[in-house]
């Protein structure tokens, strides 16, 4: 039983370790985040506006529920980094001249805050520093209010506001091409003519304050000052994405451990019922000595617990260890001062409870049978197994079967339940494997649809303010530009019923050549002349259907509130946005023809020159190069994906080895007598291996197509569970993922087969002749 116990240990270990890993990672990140938020006073509410006098601060403080208020000056800038010729943008956030801000305090990793008497000192966020290998004293340039300025890095910092640093409305974080710059309030105010004024507020609320009331009141107050809409933490990018990550971890901690625990329970069931069968006589003897049913039941229950225990202990240890690794992977994207590792006792207790309970549930039938056996019956040898001519043979297929093939067929048919469960077990292993490949496949697909098929431009150039169409003609004139078209992006808050969502409306030229809107069937969506198209995820958040009237709060310029009809919902994989014909959008805005930016294609050799000239154009706020965007998407996702694939492959391997090996061992112990008899009759090792391994092969082969089906369903479930603002995972599984899963199953089946084959080669022929079955 040693090998089988080992196989079960492996599966229990997998289940417990994934459970502990996902849950502790989630708890650790949660605790880490909370203490970061608390220790560094993460604000509850944020407001962006055009410009307001400092005196407004007092008025805001009087809003019921508002606790502490901090005013700031913030600006989006283009950066110019020596040795890195691609476009980089950043956000400047002011830091009070007398030191640390009261809210959203900085955690200084290295160096110090910028000196308020100097206007060229800057503290940058850690991921940005790492991406460029920046150190204290290094310099780079920023185009601040149109002026090129050389800045010196005095510090590298983290902020609760920027745990995840992401360019607003972008599809994925890009640490290299987007950074946060903290500068002294004095320096930045001077540069932007903001002395005695501010354009950004962070504030905290008293406990019990009604958030929606505060937001409404704030919006009223700042309206005159060009407010872009107050929002609370749930609309704050970094916070929101962290929340979604937690949701994902929570889902993962349910899906995978459940699979493993079920498989473990099944394996235990098989092993225990076999063990109890072969120990009928001992059971009878114990009963004869006066042990009662309960004692017998407990005896075997203890055995079950003992078998589970090793996997449990190792699983907890491995889970903690893997949790550390996964936490570390998260820490590369989500930046906290330090990962607080949290291991809640209940996690361990529930791991213990769940695995032992399911093991006992899995074996309860055999335990019951062992306990119930009347001693006299147990003393008798097990009744001979009943065999039948198989259905296959009755149908005439078996006419030509050789006797060994007949043996295979009849053994499989004799224990249909166990055969089915074995097939199911291996199928689940196959499915697990598919689910790991599915991540890569769907991400590839998503990237292809989003970045290749529906973003055909080489560059997207954004303007500081909505601009007239002339900008398009100017850009078209530039050397190397092949083709250009405009786009319009309007920051808005959608409202429908009681739900709201802050995002942007993308105005696209009808029949856009560079930026077609594609639905999930990759068909271009024709933008209606009137009305808006939402992606279905946003539709779900808001609860709207096609035909509904949606309220749009425009968060720039006019600040108007408009109504627009939802024409349709389309399925898009990345981002959460609304889409309109650019003309319809301009009509909605009632501000004539305005463009937010230009998509363009350009000659390869001119590209670098082009974006260098965009850096120096004051009206251009930033440039995005598409191929960088793709590369970056993979860079950010790669490690996590690799880790996940690695874990899932390991787990799938352990399940299939566990199930196949266990099966093989049981088959061996049940058949060793007849196999030895066949050896005595002159059958070769190869010929008897055929009988035993043939059965395994049949089961494995039956399991693979079932595994494909279960795998597909599992991926569908995972895809649904992983929906987030960042992306919706499409249910795309490549042929090669199916193939790989089949190969892994076959390989683990072969490994188990080889081990058993080795045992077959060493059957003691004489032994079996001495005993009755």
């Amino acid at each position: 039983m040693k090998g089988q116990v080992f196989a079960i240990t492996l599966v229990v270990l997998s289940g417990v370790s994934t459970f502990v890993m996902f849950i502790t990672t989630m708890h650790s990140l949660d605790r880490t985040r909370n203490s970061f938020y608390n220790d560094y006073n993460f604000a509850d509410v944020f407001v962006n506006l055009k410009r307001a006098p400092e005196s407004l601060k007092e008025k805001i403080k009087e809003v019921p529920g508002v606790n502490r208020v901090e005013t700031r000056v913030s600006a989006h800038v283009k950066l110019d980094i020596n040795g890195f010729s691609e476009p980089v943008t950043g956000q400047i956030v002011s830091v009070p001249d007398d030191g640390q801000p009261m809210l959203n305090r900085l955690h200084i990793r290295k160096g110090r805050l910028a000196d308020s008497t100097k206007d060229n000192e800057v503290v940058i966020n850690e991921t940005f520093a790492h991406a460029h290998g920046f150190n204290l004293g290094d310099k780079f340039a920023a185009v601040i209010n149109g002026k090129w300025k050389k800045l010196t890095i005095t510090g590298i910092a983290l902020s609760p506001e920027f745990v995840l640093v992401m360019r607003p409305y972008s599809m994925s974080p890009d640490f290299k091409r987007y950074g946060i710059l903290w500068m002294s309030r004095k320096a930045i105010s001077r540069a932007y003519n903001m002395e005695g004024a501010f354009n950004n507020i962070a504030l905290t609320l008293y406990p019990g304050a009604k958030v929606s009331d505060v937001l409404r009141e704030l919006d009223n107050i700042v309206e005159r000052y060009g407010g872009y809409g107050a929002y609370d933490r749930k609309d704050q990018i970094s916070h929101r994405l962290l929340n979604e990550e937690f949701n994902m971890l929570r889902n993962m901690s349910k899906i995978f451990p459940t699979i493993f625990i079920c498989v473990a329970a099944f394996l235990l069931n098989v092993v225990m019922s076999r063990t109890i069968n072969t120990q009928r006589e001992q059971v009878a003897a114990l009963k004869a000595f006066g042990y009662n049913n309960v004692a017998i039941g407990i005896h075997y229950a203890q055995l079950v617990v003992l078998i589970v225990l090793a996997g449990l202990v190792l699983g907890i240890v491995a889970g903690i260890w893997l949790g550390g690794i996964l936490g570390g992977i998260y820490m590369e994207v989500y930046r906290f001062p330090a990962l607080v590792f949290v291991l809640k006792p209940w996690v361990i207790i529930s791991a213990i409870f769940i695995s032992i309970a399911s093991a006992l549930v899995g074996t309860v039938h055999s335990l019951w049978r062992a306990a119930q056996q009347p001693p006299a019956e147990a003393m008798r040898a097990e009744p001979p197994a009943k065999y039948k001519i198989t259905l296959l043979e009755k149908m005439g297929v078996g006419r030509k079967f050789s006797q060994p093939t007949r043996i295979i067929a009849r053994n499989i048919e004799r224990k249909p339940v166990r055969t089915m469960l074995s097939i199911l077990g291996i199928a689940v292993a196959c499915a697990t494997m598919i689910s790991s490949g599915f991540f890569k496949d769907s991400v590839d697909y998503m990237v292809n649809v989003q970045f290749v098929l529906s973003q055909k431009e080489d560059m997207a150039v954004g303007f500081v303010e909505p601009t007239s169409y002339r900008a398009l003609y100017e850009i078209k004139e530039m050397e190397g530009v092949h083709y250009a078209e405009t786009f319009r992006t309007v920051p808005v808050k959608f409202r429908f019923g009681r739900s709201s969502y802050k995002t942007v409306i993308n105005g696209i030229e009808p029949d856009s050549r560079l930026h077609p809107l594609l639905d999930s069937n990759l068909k271009p969506v024709t933008l209606p002349q009137e009305g808006i198209i939402l992606n279905d995820y946003l539709g779900k958040i808001l609860g709207v259907k096609a035909g509904d009237m949606l309220t749009v709060e425009i968060l720039e310029g006019s600040k108007a509130i408009r109504q627009v009809q939802v024409v349709s919902l389309v399925k898009l994989y990345l981002g959460v946005m609304g889409y309109m014909d650019v003309k319809a959008l301009n009509r909605l805005m009632r501000e004539g023809e305005a463009v937010s930016g230009v998509y363009l294609t350009a000659d390869n050799q001119y590209q670098e020159k082009l974006y260098r000239s965009f850096v120096s154009m004051p009206r251009v706020s930033g440039t995005i190069v598409r191929k960088n965007e793709i590369r970056n998407f993979y860079d950010v996702q790669a490690k996590g994906m690799l880790f996940f694939t690695f874990i899932a492959t390991l787990m799938a391997g352990s399940i299939s080895i566990g199930v196949v090996y266990n099966n093989a061992r049981i088959a061996l112990s049940e058949r060793s007598r007849e196999l030895s008899s066949l050896r005595v009759l002159g059958y070769t090792r190869g010929e008897i291996s055929y009988i035993l391994l043939g059965e395994l092969v049949v089961i494995a082969i039956a399991a693979i197509p079932l595994g494909f089906i279960i795998g597909y369903a599992l991926c569908g479930y995972i895809a649904a569970a992983l929906q987030s603002d960042l992306f919706r995972v499409p249910l795309i599984i490549e042929m090669k993922t199916f193939a790989l899963a089949a190969v892994v199953v076959m390989i683990s089946a072969s490994i188990s087969g080889l081990i058993v084959r080795h045992k077959l080669d060493h059957l003691d022929l004489v032994e079996v002749l001495k005993t009755r079955e």
């Binding site: 065999y387 006797q403 043996i407 008899s677 005595v680 009759l681 002159g682 059958y683 022929l765 002749l769």
Partner: protein, 245 residues
């Protein structure tokens, strides 16, 4: 004293030649000497019975003759082929084509019917009988499609005999073929063996604890303590039918 084997016997073809055969089992520190230098021959067409007390090495000897086990020292040849030097593959082939086994516990394949249990052997043999014919020889024509679990012990043993003879083996090696049977059934089984030996001329060795059975043999080989202690020859073979125990 035992009667010396007469000269006429020596002209017969020797099937098995056993010289100074020893078999030692090592169980940790303890050595068990199952055979300590046994010498014997088995001639073509004859039927011998091996007699001896429990633990005297009968099964060990038979298993070595049948290529199921290897001797520790000494020499065994089958028709001039040294079995002690044979490889695992050669022994398998030897069992496959030359030897018919019958054991105390039948060793049938539970998932196959009587007919199929015989077919297991005929499928891989060189010059087999039809399985039906082999079963007819042991009087089981009516039970071809029954599984072992549906047959009595004696019937199962007859299936085992049919299986053993179906390949037309050169030798039949039977280890307590009647050990698990009552005397009446035992007689039926022995008759089957006797008939095969008589009609097909298969050299046959039968281990038994039953001294009465020795009467059906051409020769009786007595073992004790790992050695051949005595070989006796019967002038006339008694028919199993006339044996009572």
């Amino acid at each position: 004293m035992s009667r010396k084997i007469d000269a006429a016997d020596k002209t017969k073809e020797i099937v098995f030649q056993v010289k100074d055969l020893a078999k030692t089992y090592k169980m940790g520190e303890v050595e068990v000497h199952a055979l300590r230098g046994a010498n014997m021959e088995l001639y073509a067409g004859e039927l011998v019975v091996l007699l001896g007390p429990s633990g005297s090495g009968k099964s060990t000897l038979l298993n070595i003759l049948g290529g199921l086990d290897k001797a520790t020292s000494g020499f065994v040849s089958y028709r001039g082929n040294d079995l002690t030097k044979a490889s695992e593959q050669e022994l398998t082939e030897y069992r496959r084509f030359h030897v018919g086994f019958v054991f105390q516990f039948y060793n049938l394949i539970p998932s196959l019917t009587a007919l199929e249990n015989v077919a297991v052997v005929t499928e891989i043999a060189k010059n087999p009988m039809k399985p039906e014919d082999a079963l007819a020889l042991v009087g089981l024509t009516e039970r071809l499609d029954h599984f072992p679990a549906q047959l009595s012990g004696g019937e199962q043993q007859r299936v085992a005999i049919a299986r053993a003879i179906s390949k037309n083996p050169q030798v039949m090696l039977c280890d307590e073929p009647t050990g698990a049977l009552d005397s009446q059934t035992g007689v039926v089984v022995l008759e089957a063996l006797e008939r095969v030996n008589r009609e097909l001329g298969t050299a046959t060795a039968i281990i038994t604890h039953n001294v009465d059975i020795a009467a059906m043999a051409d020769r009786v080989i007595h073992l004790s303590n790992g050695r051949i202690s005595e070989v006796t020859a019967n002038k006339v073979r008694k028919s199993p039918h006339d044996i009572q125990w």
